[in-house]
Amino acid sequence: MVDQNKGYVVFTQEMKRTHTILVPNMLPMHFQMIGRVLERVGYKVELLETSGPQIAETGLKYVHNDTCYPAILVIGQFIHALQSGTYDPDRVALILFQTGGGCRASNYIHLLRKALEKAGLGHVPVISLSMAGLEKHPGFQLTLPLVMKMMYGVLYGDLLMTLVNQCKPYEVEKGSAQALADRWTRQLAGELTARSAGGYRRVKANYRRILDQFAAIPMERRDTLKVGVVGEIFVKYSPLGNNNLEQFLVDEGAEVVIPGLMDFCLYCVYNNMLDHQLYGMQKLSQPAYRAAYQYLVGKERDMIAAIAAHGRFTPPTLFTRTVSLVQGTISMGVKMGEGWLLTAEMLELADKGVGNIVCTQPFGCLPNHICGKGMMKPIKEKNPAINIVAIDYDAGATRVNQENRLKLMLANARQAAREPEPAGSRRVSGSAL
């Protein structure tokens, strides 16, 4: 089963017909659309929606306990699914995204294989979904049209996520924004896979219709705080990874602002251009990266322009703007994990007036020592009024502990909202005991 030359179980062409591919669910709306795109070209795909403490527990059983929390969760979720009896382990394959960067995340796939081995499931193939082409699986090949469709899935997902976040705290009927987003997710997934997708014009028309429909949701004025969420990509997005952070913040009366997934995609492409600028590496592939970058930036700009033109909602920040904000705070050579993008996103949030920020990271995340906690001092020096709380996520961390720290951030945010003051000055309360 294990290909001796490659050292791993290969996903063969044959398996494309026989095997169901299980996908970890980091971002429900995005991944649903991406999953449907894969189904369209003949794969059987299933998104894992499981949650609960048994996921982390299964992970801790099969993965080195000092490994980062996202690996423990993702691997735990896979093995938990395989052991649940829901799937035939001989007809299942797993898929993981692999960036090939210098942080531990590039090793998740190997840790997953080791864990499968330990659980007696070593024969289950694991597909590496990687733009860097780290592994070859004859049964799973990315084609340009496929990648393009996935990219639309990401853009749609970012749009829906942005709109849901902006409606949720104000909707008259609880859950109406998410319900609308879910309807659109299904419809868009269907459209992306239809034979006549209607081209890019159709996508832009969809943007407008989506915006109109979200604007029509009955909403009421409420006092809220805007709270930005940044961090390591998995714990930032996944409710499984961050103990339902978004819901907690909404329940506390906050409007959540989360930078989209397209920023991370652009960041990955941009880093390949930087490898050339900084080190003179990858000379031959530069034109391709530059083209991809320009293309993606253009697509993101169209989406943002659609929101701006509609006028009702606050659009996300252009990637090019985010890039310009980070200059002088951290070098863009810092490219492992979320790298400079993490710092940039905090600056970007502050720039658009979202001064309350939750910086999420798995406990002991190496790049975040530098780009997260390590940059807080310079960020605060530039934005004295900024209110950042760093929260560690881990199988060992508890919700009480995390929520207590979040509450401190929120209390400070409310205080600042009550008494706007010049940055850097001391607040002296008038009341005395």
Partner: protein
Amino acid sequence: MTHTGLSLGIDIGSTTAKAVLVEDGRILYEKYQRHFSQVRQKTLELLEEAAEAAGDRPFTAAISGSAGLGLAESAGVPFVQEVFATGEVVRALEPDASAVVELGGEDAKIIFFDGGIDERMNGSCAGGTGAFIDQMATLLGLTADELDALSLESTRLYPIASRCGVFAKTDIQPLLNQGAKHADVAASIYQAVVNQTIAGLAQGRRITGKVLFLGGPLYYCKGLRRRFQETLGLTDDQAVFPDYGRFAVAMGASLYARSAGEEYTMDRLREKIAHSSAVRDAANLLPPLFASEADYAAFRARHAAATVAEEDLAAYKGSAWLGIDCGSTTTKAALLGEDRQLLYTYYSSNRGNPVEIVREQLETIYGLCGDRVRIRGSAVTGYGEELIRAAFGVDRGVVETIAHYTAAKHFCPEVDFILDIGGQDIKCFKIKNGAIDSIMLNEACSSGCGSFIETFARSMGYDVAEFARKGLQAAAPVNLGSRCTVFMNSSVKQSQKDGATVEDISAGLSVSVVKNAIYKVIRAGSADELGRRVVVQGGTFYNDAVLRAFEMELGREVIRPAIAGLMGAYGAALYAMDLEESALISPEKLGSFTHAARAAVCQGCANHCRLTVNSFGGSKKYISGNQCQKGLGLANAQELPNLYAWKRDALTSLRPGAEIRGSVGLPLSLGMYELLPLWHAFFTRLGFRVEVSGLSSRRVYEKGQFSIPSDTACYPAKIMHGHMEVLLERGVDAIFYPSLTYNVDERGGDNHYNCPVVAYYAELLRGNMDDLAQTRFLYPFLNINNRRELARELFACLHPVFPDVTKKEIRQAVDHAFAAYEAHMTAVRRQGEAAAAWARAHGKRIMILAGRPYHIDPEIGHGIDKLAASLDFVVVSEDSVCHLADPAPVHVLNQWTYHARLYRAARYACQHSDVQLVQLVSFGCGVDAITTDEVRRILEEAGKLYTQIKIDEITNLGAVKIRLRSLIGALEEKGV
């Protein structure tokens, strides 16, 4: 509605509940008490008392504190976050304060007021709080008050790890076992708290001006106050310890209550709190340990079978052998008769003074023996082995693993697996073909051991036996997961908030101890990996709840000897049984035995080890704390080749050249340990005087600890801050530490990255060290694998600062630098080969001490290389031998240069029976979560022993020594 200005503030922290009733600035009532986790009940009691002060007048109320959050939510009473509450009070009462330091039961907080308000709490991994001080007091057998009083009499401070309580314990224990003075240890514990607060919370901001110290521990502990004041250099006017220190949060809550508005009568508030209840989350419950009484009875009967014959010492006549196990928290003794029967046993906490305990025991034993029994031999094992041996003339010392295996064999000759959970350690050995095949020990940061359950039992107001009994009756044990002690506190808190009973928590803790052992320490995926015949031992297994939980998790029955807690002592006695004549101290000499310990600093070398000198009357002495043999007055009889020492010498012998253009400082940690020869040659060639910050020391670390923003980063990174300070003091024109995403490409791997910390730490330094503005800090992004590129990038970096530097000069200097680097690496490899050849010629074992280039630093590596040399190993480094093995495929993405060397070095060890590999791992090194499993796999597939040593700020060499001696013991048994 009339507003009386009467308001109640309640602060329920992790261990104590506080309440204040305030009217127009006057405090009518205040109370501070421990709540033993019975949050609701204690709150009601406080209300009862407050009611008297309030009468029937209405008042406003608010709750604060980490354990108050759940209560406030379920009762529907306003809640205010505690740090915020503190901030409010201080703003109102001390408007000129510039900072607040507040320590609570489990939290530490700092608030800065100057230059923008900044409120900080400790993260999820941090000790150094009230609970930590309590734990440490317990360890010393003192009350918190006694600890405080003692600390004021200290004369010296020992370095104690402050990262978390468990870590600190492993530092304190050997100090105690080696006879350090309690007064000094007490003050050192406080100093650790201070260091933790500064390193963990100040994060680059200096604590100066008028500083308020709040919270229970700082109210009660005078010694702690003194340590804070001295460390921060505050005058008496600047350091303020207000009378209301304990109540600051409660007062803040009362302030908040007035703005929150809602008014209560005492009856209504009581009712709200009494009727608040939380619903338990069924997903987080575990099955009960026993379904019925009958199940438990059968379980007890089964385990009662594993016993040892006993005989009354008072009636016995003949020979006897004595075994002593001087463990980290307990001392055990066993006296065996001619038929291996137990004549006498002893098991007790060593109350911080094992020497005195053993003296008492010997006295008792001699008393009971009279003239009828003759002790023919004795052996001692455990942490205190050498101390006890020196003090009482015990015949033999035996390493713990061998002692335990010897004892386990007595109960199960074919044993496959031994798991020993003691007070502080978890030890596991796999047995194959009658020899120890692999040894796993817990890492200092994750011990879920005996003392862990004991501490929890006590914090909930029970003794450990009663607590265990309760666990057996639990209907629905809580699932607390497997995590380290510090995290467990908040898990327990959460489950209490969810309404779990003491029974459920006790059972849940037992399950988590077991899970910690199986999944963290043993790293087993299934019961089969442990083998068929499993013997469990150690005092913790006296707890039936732990034993049962282990059998349930494993799905198989195991053997627990009736003397589970005495196995070390029993094994030691068995080990001594071939002796005929004992040199053990005689009853007469015992009568005049004296013991005194004093501190000293070794002057043998620049390392200046802090020694503890124990004298036992006359000229008998035992010295501990030394990293090498010099402190003992004897130079190494024979200097064995030691690549770590050789590399250190090679790097420190690089001399600064003439200063033509200026001076450049190179900080010696992280990646500079690898590339120093390269950069030294480069800058020297360009006409710069190169200042190297030099080898690290604790002093160097302390110089820079103020500016560390992320406390959980590895020690080699954190010590960089100190190296930068050293260079700043020397006044260099520029400091150079390049950012290298990619390391030197040595081929054979999938990629050649540096780890994120080595690659980018310069960015963090630049962002957090304000002093760097005094010089020019150069941290260019460089391509080290392409000389043309490198020259271009270096020119772009240096030209703006030193405009007369030309491109041509840089190109030549780059070539020169690479020649120097290659010469150095070649020399390292030649030395590695020579050392191996020397070892083979002289019949010595070779140890690859496999880590990173920076592990050769005496402060980062804690002299483990010297320790290994003193145990007769020829020490080589991973980079001196990895070229001798071909890169073979590995089961991980092999993408880091330093780490690829580990895999190759492991391969080399597999190819030679006389080579052992010991892996050094820095605490917090995320990458090593991947490499350790892989290196272990490579070695174990080839039938080699794998040994891992985790090192941090402070490392207890006693534990390392046990580990290395266990390795030697296992090798000897295997006949290698």
